[in-house]
């Protein structure tokens, strides 16, 4: 084993160059009006930013990458919410699976049942064969994830209940099949492989190999979208303002996002 020889603080150089301190960003989210916005601040002290996109019907954001779907376009955005990839897409909502490494993503088109790989600089690549080869999914998935280039994660509902599955994108083989207890609403998958789903008016965070965590919310859930590393944006069915829910283990919390003017 190599030994640590030293850790040298370079902070002074950073702050003297005024690059070491900035406004913190929680992530970005799709508001109730379909605007996609950055969210600055810290937990409970949010500051919604100006709309970077409008007319957004689906969105996901994690660390330095975001994917937004407007009526006719799928876009991958970088940390500055600049477009790094754009593809035409049919109308309607999509499921977005953000990648753990890099700006690539998977998109499942609800309208057509198409599964696409989105990679900046490349045409969208259909993965329908792999998806259908699994033979497990009679209905559309509730959420997808992109743990690596060879697999996809999916939250699926079958007659036997809801499951978190890991599917090979090469041959459709299912390598993981984990039950998701009490799932009865929307779901999302983090790049790290955690399933976040609705169970009544609770938000359940399911990480393979760990006990599920449950956060009570004021009403049933209408939608869940990834909104930053360790955060999801939750729309409740009662029409109340969007929630920002921290799902990071040990730091869970439920907050409301200030409703920015259109």
């Amino acid at each position: 084993m190599r030994r640590i020889l030293g850790i040298v603080c370079l902070l002074n150089a950073c702050v003297q160059a005024q690059t070491g301190i900035a406004v913190p960003r929680v992530g970005c989210y799709r508001d109730r009006g379909g605007a996609f916005r950055p969210l600055a601040g810290t937990a409970g002290s949010f500051l919604p930013g100006a709309a970077a996109r409008t007319g957004v019907v689906s969105a996901a954001c994690w660390e330095a990458v975001a994917v937004v779907k407007t009526e006719q376009t799928l876009e991958i955005l970088d940390a500055g919410l600049r477009t790094v990839g754009s593809w035409p897409a049919p109308a309607g909502q999509v499921l977005i699976g953000l990648s753990r490494s890099g700006p690539g993503a998977l998109a499942y088109i609800n309208e057509t049942g198409q599964l696409l790989r989105l990679q900046p600089g490349s045409p969208a690549r259909a993965l329908a064969d792999a998806w259908t080869q699994s033979g497990l999914f009679e209905d559309a998935p509730l959420a997808i994830g992109s743990p690596d280039r060879a697999h996809m994660d999916a939250v699926v509902r079958t007659a036997a209940g809801a499951f978190l599955a890991r599917v090979s994108l090469l041959n459709g083989a299912v390598s993981t099949w984990l039950p998701l207890a009490d799932l009865d609403g929307p779901a999302a998958l983090t790049p790290g492989g955690a399933a976040v789903y609705a169970a009544g008016s609770n938000l359940v965070i399911f990480e393979p190999g760990a006990d599920p965590r449950s956060l009570p919310l004021p009403a049933r859930l209408a939608s869940i979208e990834l909104s930053g590393e360790g955060w999801v944006a939750v729309q409740l069915s009662d029409g109340s303002p969007l929630l920002a829910v921290r799902i990071e283990r040990g730091r869970e919390g439920v907050f409301r996002i200030p409703e920015a003017k259109p």
Partner: protein, 459 residues
């Protein structure tokens, strides 16, 4: 109405009275003295104005010393102060107004310089409009204003209303083609009218109706009552009702920075009427804090309503409204004004050590970046320390690494676009086996103490 103009005469000593002729301005034809001047007819409640002139028809200066008018419904206007010298051929104009209150024949007398008298005749036709005045009814002229007085808006008791009556004093039936109340929605009518226009009002008959004034908002309201093209102005004033004493309540009652809390408005007794206003939030701190705001709508002012019979104000249908306490120490002041009553609630956000929200680490070749998201509600951060540990908790490298960040934070907080929030990124050069680094402790010093946080490093 009796119109009488009596203006003093002041004859010039030694000067004889010259001949002054009266004529309508429109024709310029002199009216012979003692001859009747027929002004024609006008509908009751309307008025008729005719311009007259007095002309010096003599070859010498003449003095117009007085113009005297008598007779119900006649008035004069536009006359200068008298006496007035008129040169040969010069004229002085004035207006003669006929404004009858009821139908019928009218007569009066116009006298120039107490010597030359002219008989005035005119006729009023059509319906007469009357309004309740005390226990009786008074005639309304066209353009008159009916004042409904001052009432409490939204009053649950019967609205203020006034009785009106249309009389037909003529010998012939009159067709009422229009009778309407327009303008501010506070006015409604005609109410309790036996038949809606158009209807026929026989000779000698009357039609009674009411106009109600029931304002829902405070201030002056204006409307118009129209009868066959004749208009009468309606006015009234609405005042705010008295609401029971109310209180602004915060949950929780003691606050700190970085919280989301709820505020509500509660009354000591049910509100007698409905109302609406805004709850405003101020922050007593020099540089402000944009993260101190209501959630919906995001901002420092939130509209609320109060329903009659309830004891809580509603914010978008909810009895509470969420707000963020922000990230700056200071005093939050909530203010609400309703029905002339103003209530405030002051909440002190105490100074606190730096609150560390999250710590994230990123490894690159030979370098590790630690990002500390936090807020400093004193905006006085001066020192930051990092301690890296291995899996057993043993400090690595040279132990605690400390850096003075006073000037950097002073500069950053010059423009507090995110209040006291900040992310501090520290870069570290790592030599050796970086996988041994399993956690990092962060400490930050400000004027209120030291805030700490730690994070596990998993990759």
């Amino acid at each position: 109405m009796t119109g009488k103009v009596a203006l003093c005469a002041a004859a010039c000593c030694g000067m004889a009275f010259a001949q002054l002729a009266l004529s309508p301005v429109s024709t310029g034809l002199p009216v012979p003295v003692s001859q009747a001047l027929d002004l024609g007819s006008v509908e009751t409640g309307d008025s008729l104005t005719i311009a007259l002139q007095v002309t010096n028809t003599s070859s010498a200066f003449a003095t117009l010393s007085s113009v005297t008018l008598s007779g119900v419904g006649f008035t004069a206007g536009g006359l200068p102060d008298l006496p007035l010298q008129l040169a040969t051929g010069a004229s002085q104009q004035f207006q003669l107004v006929f404004a009858p209150g009821t139908a019928g024949a009218y007569s009066g007398t116009l006298t120039i310089n107490d010597t030359d008298s002219y008989t005035l005749v005119a006729h009023a036709t059509g319906a007469t409009l009357l309004v309740q005045q005390g226990s009786g009814m008074g005639v309304l002229s066209a353009g008159a204003t009916v004042d409904f007085g001052s009432v409490v808006r939204g009053s649950s008791v019967s609205p203020v209303s006034l009785s009106f009556r249309i009389d037909n004093p003529t010998g012939q039936a009159i067709q009422i083609t229009m009778l309407s109340v327009t303008g501010d929605a506070a006015f409604s009518g005609p109410l309790e009218l036996a038949a809606l226009p158009p209807f026929r009002l026989d000779a000698g008959k009357s039609a009674a109706f009411r106009v109600a004034f029931s304002p829902q908002k405070s201030g002056t309201a204006a409307g118009t009552l129209t009868l066959n093209g004749r208009t009468v102005q309606l006015t009234g004033t609405a005042t705010d009702p008295s609401f029971p004493t109310f209180h602004i309540v915060c949950d929780p009652p003691v606050l700190a920075s970085g919280q989301q809390a709820k505020v509500s408005i509660k009354f000591d007794a049910p509100a007698p009427v409905s109302g609406s206003s805004t709850l405003d939030m101020q922050f007593l701190y020099g540089k402000g804090d944009p993260t101190l705001l209501f959630i919906t709508p995001a901002g420092r002012s939130a509209p609320f309503t109060v329903a009659a019979g309830t004891e809580s104000a509603l914010f978008s249908g909810q009895t509470t409204i969420d707000f963020q306490t922000g990230t700056t120490a200071g005093t939050i002041i909530f203010t609400a004004t309703l029905g002339g009553q103003t209530e405030t609630l002051s909440l002190v956000i105490p100074a606190a050590p730096v609150s560390i929200d999250s710590i994230r680490t990123v490894f690159a070749t030979g370098q590790m970046t630690v990002s500390v998201s936090a807020f400093d509600n004193t905006r006085s951060a001066s020192q930051v320390s990092f301690t890296f540990r291995d899996a057993s908790g043993t400090e690595l490298g040279a132990g605690m690494l400390t850096s003075d960040v006073t000037s950097a934070f002073q500069q950053y907080f010059q423009n507090p676009e995110a209040g006291g929030n900040f992310v501090l990124r520290g870069a570290f050069s790592v030599s050796g086996d970086a996988t041994q680094v399993k956690s990092v402790d962060v400490g930050m010093v400000n004027s209120a103490g030291t805030g700490t946080g730690s994070a596990k490093i998993t990759e």
